[in-house]
């Protein structure tokens, strides 16, 4: 799955996702990626977020919407991402998932849920400083 957030110079924010979903899924299954607020969410007055991982679980928490609302309240993007992951972990302590968050000024962050075989999350950032692959340690 790819989840992407773009903020242009005029502070217009767009988020998107694309995926072929889970391997061996039951035919007809749709994951979180095309669900608004789950796979991604964008509101140019606050920010945007995009999630990836175990969609059947993550979609139950609308993590992208929740992260954007946290940023609307003034939370830093990394903190917003972490709080969303922590909320899901209360119910599914070892779920596999990660989320990226960006606020309307171009601040960004990410968080992921530590589980067997998944300790760090890699994501990409491109801004006027250049392009870079970034890594966060999972919580």
């Amino acid at each position: 799955t790819i989840g992407m957030i773009v903020i242009d110079k005029s502070r217009s924010i767009v988020a998107g996702t694309s995926t072929n979903g889970a391997t061996h899924k039951i035919p007809g299954r749709v994951g979180d990626s095309p669900i608004v607020g789950a796979g991604a969410y964008a509101d140019s007055t606050a920010g945007a977020a995009a999630a990836t991982g175990m969609g059947d679980i993550m979609m139950r928490f609308l993590p992208s919407y929740q992260a954007v609302e946290y940023m609307r309240l003034g939370m830093e993007p990394t903190t917003a991402c972490q709080k969303v992951i922590a909320r899901i972990q209360k119910y599914y302590p070892k779920f596999f998932g990660a989320i990226i968050c960006a606020n309307r000024t171009g601040g960004y962050g990410a968080a992921c849920s530590k589980c067997p075989g998944f300790n760090q999350f890699h994501f990409m950032v491109h801004n006027p400083s250049g392009t870079s692959e970034q890594i966060v340690d999972c919580i």
Binding site: I2, I13, G21, A22, K25, V36, D56, T131
Partner: protein
């Protein structure tokens, strides 16, 4: 430090990031950048988790899910379980721009896409065929069924509802989803 413009995406899919940035740099809208960036991954079949030829379902078919959201207008276009169309993110944008709906799914989404001019083609690849064949050879393990008969832990389907007592503590099998298999 906060700087604009910004492109950020999940996983180290560098070409997608670059394509989105180039789209912005050449005067494209943020909408164009997200569409082109995600399209790049669909074309490259990023990690086998995006685009055609990956993540076959139990029937061996690859289907695609995609969504795009405009944060200025709160307009959304999305497709789920899209069959036979490679450009899922572009179809999602078409849903947003050419309908008043937010999400179209399955065969009907494919017909919508064809009517909007998208090419209908097979989404299977040698890789997806191989993944599916291997899964069948392992008695359809792993899978996402629970509380069915015959036991989904040892047998392929078709399954029926298991009557009588069954565990309500059963949770999502964590080993099924990982960095190579995810939404």
């Amino acid at each position: 430090a906060a700087q604009l413009p910004l492109v950020i995406n999940t996983w180290p899919f560098k070409d997608a990031t670059q394509r989105a940035w180039d789209t912005l740099h050449s005067g494209g809208l943020a909408l164009d950048a997200v569409e082109k960036g995600c399209s790049q991954c669909e074309f490259e079949q990023c990690d086998g988790t995006v685009g055609y030829g990956g993540s076959p379902d139990e029937h061996g078919e690859t289907t695609l899910d995609a969504m795009i959201m405009n944060g200025n207008t709160i307009e959304v276009g999305a497709v789920g379980n899209l069959r036979r169309i490679k450009s899922a993110i572009s179809v999602a944008r078409a849903v947003m721009e050419h309908s008043s709906h937010s999400l179209l799914v399955g065969e009907s989404a494919s017909i919508f896409a064809q009517n909007m001019g998208f090419l209908s083609e097979d989404l299977t690849s040698n890789t997806s065929l191989s993944i599916h064949a291997e899964w069948l050879s392992k008695k359809c393990q792993p899978n996402y069924w629970k509380n069915v008969f015959p036991s989904a832990k040892t047998s392929c389907g078709p399954y029926k509802r298991k009557e009588g007592q069954w565990s309500k503590r059963h949770r999502m099998p964590a080993h099924v989803v990982d960095v190579h298999n995810h939404d």
